[in-house]
């Protein structure tokens, strides 16, 4: 239990730091920007209480917002992600899986499941984020394009991290 807590806190800190100091500066012009910090929310234990999940999502978002000077946007996006996460897990997991405190990583789930999971969640995160950032439906086509590319970018990064750090540990 302590190990789980420590692991999550450490992951959270590392991902936030990586996000605000490294990935903030990376981007494909204005079209695609990666937000791999949402991995911290993705890998929270399956049976985490909903209230705690939403609170953590909100706090994560606010923390990133502070560095991005966009107070509230990442928070809203992360809260949306948390909601989609709850629905997604309800739809795809069996009841006995819900009892597990384990993270829904590649180690526990299949690669295909994790890919879809990361893609769907990051898609909703980016959708909320970009729509809030633009706050207008003008140029909606460009916005949707950048949402899609950012989403692919983020998903690829998350899957890579997962493969690099966790696959090996399992073995």
């Amino acid at each position: 239990m302590t190990k789980l807590l420590l692991e999550n806190i450490l992951r959270f800190l590392l991902l936030i730091l990586a996000q605000v100091f490294i990935f903030k500066n990376i981007g494909y012009y204005n079209l695609a920007a990666p937000f791999p910090y949402i991995m911290a929310l993705l890998l929270l234990p399956v049976r985490i209480p909903k209230t705690l999940l939403f609170l953590l999502a909100f706090l994560t978002g606010i923390t990133v917002d502070m560095f991005y000077d966009t107070l509230g946007m990442h928070a809203a996006a992360c809260v949306t992600l948390a909601w989609v996460r709850v629905i997604f897990l309800n739809l795809t997991l069996q009841d006995d899986d819900h009892d597990s405190f384990a993270s829904p990583g590649i180690g526990q789930m299949s690669f295909r499941w994790f890919l879809i999971y990361a893609f769907v969640l990051s898609f909703f995160h980016h959708l909320t984020l970009y729509l809030l950032e633009n706050f207008t439906l003008n140029n909606i086509l460009f916005t949707l394009t950048s949402i899609l590319f950012s989403c692919i970018f983020t998903t690829v990064l998350i899957v890579l991290f997962e493969l690099i750090f966790y696959r090996r540990r399992k073995r």
Partner: protein
Amino acid sequence: MRNLWIFISRYSTFFLFILFFGIAVVLVIRNNSFQRASALNSSNQMIGKAYQNVDYLKGYLSLNETNLALSRENAALRALLKSSSYDNNVVVNITRDSLQEPEYSYIEARVINNSINQKNNYLTVNRGSKHGIQKGMGVISSKGIVGIVLNVSPNFSTIQSLLHSDTRISASLAKSQAFGSLIWGPQAHDPQKALLRDIPNHVKVEKNEQVITSGFSLFPPGIIIGTVLETGLSSGSSFLDISVRLNNDFSTLQYVYIVVDRYSGEKENLETKNLEND
């Protein structure tokens, strides 16, 4: 209350989402200038639209008063129009001539009321006693005679039209100079025809012969009245009845001239003495 609590806990995910998302959106709008500006802007637009609709509905409620005010204003504006003002500018043409003293002068007038289809027809013109019109004066137009002034008020006069059963005008035939009286009425109610009576039997009358004023009446001599249409409508006596097509189109009369005869008073005075002698 219990049911409400069950409801909320069943859909707790959704309510949590709404709660945190709401907080985040409030933070976004409060702390980011562009989002705040556009949020305020769109809400202002919505409010403006709502006010506009309410105002539109309110407009219906006050439609009655608005209509009243508008119609009053219309009446006031209409009163300022040129057509609603009375034209007081009279042009009287009198020839100054030391050799021939002019007898007749003419006052132009505009017909403001007219009828042709009654048994007795009258006209109203916009000149009256103020302009020197008196009862009994003759009225002509550019095409022929019109009638006799019947009543006079300061600004208006009524004219007994030629198309009146009591109107009798002394008329003569242009060639033979034989005179009779022109009447309209009992037998003929056609506004384009009149009867010339009291022309003796021996006078030769031709078709299309002109009928003119004789000069024995209020009118200057030689003013055209019409043309002979039919002759020989004998009434069984020694006089002819001649049907006359009137030259004047009474249905389109607009401007007429009132004939002022300088000596008419003198003539009448003299003529009344004839009757005294009888």
